[in-house]
Symmetry: C2
Subunit: 134 residues, 2 copies
Amino acid sequence: MLGRLNHVAIAVPDLAAASAVYRDTLGATVTEPQALPEHGVTVVFIDVGNTKIELLEPLGETSSIAGFLQKNPAGAMHHVCYEVADILAARDQLKASGMRILGDGEPKIGAHGKPVLFLHPKDFQGTLVELEQV
Amino acid sequence: MLGRLNHVAIAVPDLAAASAVYRDTLGATVTEPQALPEHGVTVVFIDVGNTKIELLEPLGETSSIAGFLQKNPAGAMHHVCYEVADILAARDQLKASGMRILGDGEPKIGAHGKPVLFLHPKDFQGTLVELEQV
């Protein structure tokens, strides 16, 4: 079921400052910031050749990552995203194995315009897992 | 400077249980456990096609991840590892940019038999960054 690692997401308090570290110090290419109001984040992506790093900054007063950044004010790794061929089939298989899907269990459209779901970190050793249909 | 993402490391309290989740529930191939006493960890790798997930379990009483797991008893993402062509050149360039290298600043041999260094998480938005020469 588990496909390629689409990205690793890192929540940051200051997207411009974090982007500068990756661009200027590490020499990476950083995309322009993209606001995703329905996810409560502004994101940039960093292409590292085989996968991407996603930097997330809170957007709006009800951002889903605001609480995470309160616990980790300097920033921290937030989730990993794996690609799946069929997100509904993957969801149903995971649910049958006792895994919990966050929210209402229905895919939302993610940063790449593709359906995504999030799985409960308690079922994956404290790691928040996103699935993206590609 | 920044090369491919070699792996994402996740610290787990129970390597066998975590391996079973990836193998049995997610259908991934998990390597046999490898003890790395000089790093204070036992590791397995999960090949996800374009990169790897490394699961880390503490080994020995002075394990470097024991404290991390005390703060995150269920487990948590621990570090990301990027490949570099020349680890000493990368280190010197990072130091010249004001980035801090952990330990004595000299590469150690990592899980793949290659030289590795760790960079201070405070310089990378709370993310512990490993560099591996490939």
